[in-house]
Structure formats: C-alpha cells, structure tokens
C-alpha cells in the first residue's frame, strides 16, 4: 500500500463548523492522537479503505482510498467506439445500465448523432427499471444492515412496528 492518501475530507481550520457540537468519540488515551482504519468497507461495489484521525475525541481528518484499479480508460483506448458501452458497463455490476447509457451518449455526442424518439423513450424505460432495481438492491442487500440489527430483529414486535408505521403515514 502507498503510505500517502489523497485527503478527500478535511477540516478547513478557517471555517467555523456550523453544526452543533458533536459528542466526543471515546478514546482509550484521552488527549492523544489516534488513527482508525476501516478496511475493507463492506457492502459496496469495489474496494474501499477509510482512515480517520481522531484527536481529543474528535475526528480531525479523514482519508478515503479506493483500493482497486483496473484501468478501463486505458483499456478502451483505440477500440471501436461502438463497443465502449459494453466495457464501461462493467465499471459496476450493480448499476450497469447507467454506465452503458452514459457511454452511448458520449459516443453519440462525439459523432453528432441525434437518436429517434423511440430510442429515447426505450432508454428512459430501461433507466427507470434500473433505478428501481438499484434502489431495492442498495437498500435491502447493501445499506439495510447499517440500520438493522439482525439479531435484535428476532425479538422485534411486529404489532408495534405496524402501529409506528400507521402513526407516521396514511
């Protein structure tokens, strides 16, 4: 691993933080600087590493690093532009369609092509279908486990859940 990371998230000392004072993060050695590394970040497509710097119980800096590189841009270089969408679709197997359509549009822009109305409508339908499936996948397979404690779900009270649901929606 390289030992330097591009700081994507950093506190600017000149800018006051407008949010309310957060609760300090408990630190085994109060006052001392501490680094927290989470790698792998799971339930995402690809590979991600997060490093967090903690001082006096507060996050003072953070770095994220994608730890996978394939070089799809380099691989696309010099190929038949009609093939590009098949390659770019593989950027992500979870949200394939948007990468394919973005690539098709890029090629069409370069060639000055205007697609017929039927093609536009079909693409919108395909993107709509992808939008729905991606949200379902993202919530139930990927994100939900951040919010749901599966073990305690076993002792959940369905009636209380239902009552809560009814109290906040029609």
């Amino acid at each position: 691993m390289p030992d330097t990371y591009l700081p994507l998230v950093g506190n600017n000392p000149g800018t006051p933080n407008p949010t309310p004072t957060p609760t300090p993060i408990p630190s085994p050695t109060p006052g001392a600087g501490q680094k927290l590394v989470i790698d792998p970040i799971t339930r995402i497509e690809g590979h991600l590493r997060i490093e967090v710097k903690i001082e006096n119980g507060f996050v003072t800096d953070a770095w994220s690093a994608g730890t996978q590189f394939r070089g799809i841009e380099l691989i696309l270089n010099g190929r038949d532009p009609r093939d590009a969408w098949v390659f770019t679709q593989r950027i992500c197997g979870v949200c394939t369609t948007v990468h394919a359509i973005a690539s098709v549009r890029a090629v069409e822009n370069a060639l000055g092509v205007t697609v017929p109305d039927n093609a536009r409508l079909l693409r919108n339908l395909i993107e709509g279908a992808q939008f729905i499936q991606d949200h379902v996948i993202h919530f139930y397979h990927l994100h939900a486990l951040d919010w749901v404690d599966i073990v305690s779900a076993l002792s959940a009270d369905p009636a209380a859940t239902s009552a809560l649901q009814k109290s906040i929606s029609n």
Binding site: I41, T42, R43, E45, Q68, F69, R70, G71, G93, I150
Partner: protein, 330 residues
Amino acid sequence: MENKTGEISEQITQKGMSRREFIKLCGIVAAVLGLPASAVNTISNALAAATRLPAIWLEFQDCTGDSESFLRAYQRSDPLQPSKTDPGITSLILDVLSVDYHETLMAPAGFMAEKSRQDTIQSYAGKYVCVVEGSIPAGNNGVYCTIGGRTALSILQDVTSHAMATIALGSCATDGGLAGANPNPTGAVGVKDAIPGIQNLINLPGCPANVVNLVATIVYFLTYNQWPSTDNLGRLAFAYGEVVHDQCPREDFYEEGNYVLEWGDERHRQGWCLFKMGCRGPRTGSNCPTVKWNEGTCWPVAAGHGCIGCTEPHFWDTMTPFYIPLPGGD
C-alpha cells in the same frame, strides 16, 4: 458453527416446498447437468442427507456482476405457471451453499470482516469452497487491488490453500477478463495463472456467470462427491460444452440465409438471425439458450442482440469489435 446433517432438507421443508416439488427441482438440476432421469433420485436422496457447503467468496478486480447474478437466484421452473411453493432451481443456492464471507453482502466491516474470513478458514479447513470473483493483478507487486492492506494474491493464496476446491466465477476470475484486456494495465490474471498448478479449480466463465450453473455444480458435488467434468478449456462441460449457435432458436433463419441487416429493420423485428450484426454464437460455448436469464425468461439473442462470446477465453480481445461480423458474415 458446525453444520448438521439433514440441514438442506430441513431448510427446504421450512420453505413449504412439497416433496413432489423438491423432486421436480432435482429433475431440473439433472437436466441442466445433462444427467439421465435416473439421476434424479440419486440427487434428491443425496441433497436430503447433505449439509450445506461453507463458502468464502472473494472479490478482487471485479464489478460485483457475478454477485448480482448470485442475488438473482430466483427462477421459477416454469415461468408461465408461477406458484408460491415453486421458487425454482436457483432458490436452492442458499440451501446448498453457506456463504460465510462475502464483502458485498456481509454485515461486518474492517477488522471484523477480516476476522470472519479467518474464522471460516480455521473452522472449516479443507472443507470449504473458495469462490473467486474478479481478476488478480500481478503487476507492480499487486498494488492494484488490496483488502485490509493485503494484496489480492496474498489473500487468494491464503484462502485457496485451505479450501477443498476453488470456483473461478465469471470471466475475470477465469482468465483476467476485463481488467486483463489489452493492454492489461494492471497485469490482471485469472486464478489458474495467479496460482499455477492449483488443485480442484473449477472455471465458470461468463460475464457474468450464470447462477444456474453454480447451483448445478454445487448440487453435483453434494451428490457425487466429485466435481463435474471439464472441457478442453477447463470449463465445466455441462455448461460450456455446446456451441450457442447450435442451440439457438434462430438457427433455422441462419440455415435459410435470413439475416438481420440493420438494427430495427423488418428482419430484426421478425427475429431473424443476428450473424451479420456480429453475433458470436457460432464461436461460443455456453448453455445460455437453454438455461437463459431473468428467471429463465430471456437471453441476449432473444432480446434482439447478438451473443458477445463472453464465456470464451480473453473475449474482450478475441471477440471484439463486437459489431464486426465473423468471417463469412460481411
């Protein structure tokens, strides 16, 4: 963490599947495997007594497409007559495979994720299956894919060395796939080249691989305690042994010389042969035309696009440009 005997039949019973439906499913698995009807009883008896296979699912230079295929493990045996208790062959996947480590699906992250992988290796040493998705970058000492500060190759060596078998799932894990396409900037290779001489390696190429074939492979192993036979490219013969073109429902159009000549033309609308639009079916071994996708309802040619040959070695280089017809098609 010990899995117990009879666990699979217990799981299936819990789903409310009747004995008859279970036998029907076993019949479908047998058909996919190309086994005679007499194998159905053997399969059902074996499954009823078997325990789930523990699996460590590794992802390296991947797009998660094979995992997505895995998550689509829901196929009715008869799409036209759905019933609540007939969830189809791929519903068996979680009954036959216990996926104990999978970065995209598991709850823990960071140190705890790493720990669960090591725990599985220790608890099931020599008894688990290693599923690999994505290629392994050999260039620059492996910096192009690291997990928990370790290179893909180091993790792969660790996990496969204690596995009873390794399944390279998808084209990237088989031969380097997309990342391995020319000029292969990261030196990406498949499992067979990352660990030369690796024992008990099963290649299930495809972009993505079809989960039906994964189910059939696991069921075959649970039934016969050995892996299905492979073709000359090291792929499973039952899934890749037949040429797409020979099984294609549009093959008659080919024989009659009735080709689509332009996207959206009348011939395209009539479902004629896509050979002249660049279809790679004649050069590709796969059971896509019979097993299909999307709950067994469709596959690329049925949707009106040619086969891109994704189960063949290095298809990103050998099958492209995709829209230039094979020799004889121009």
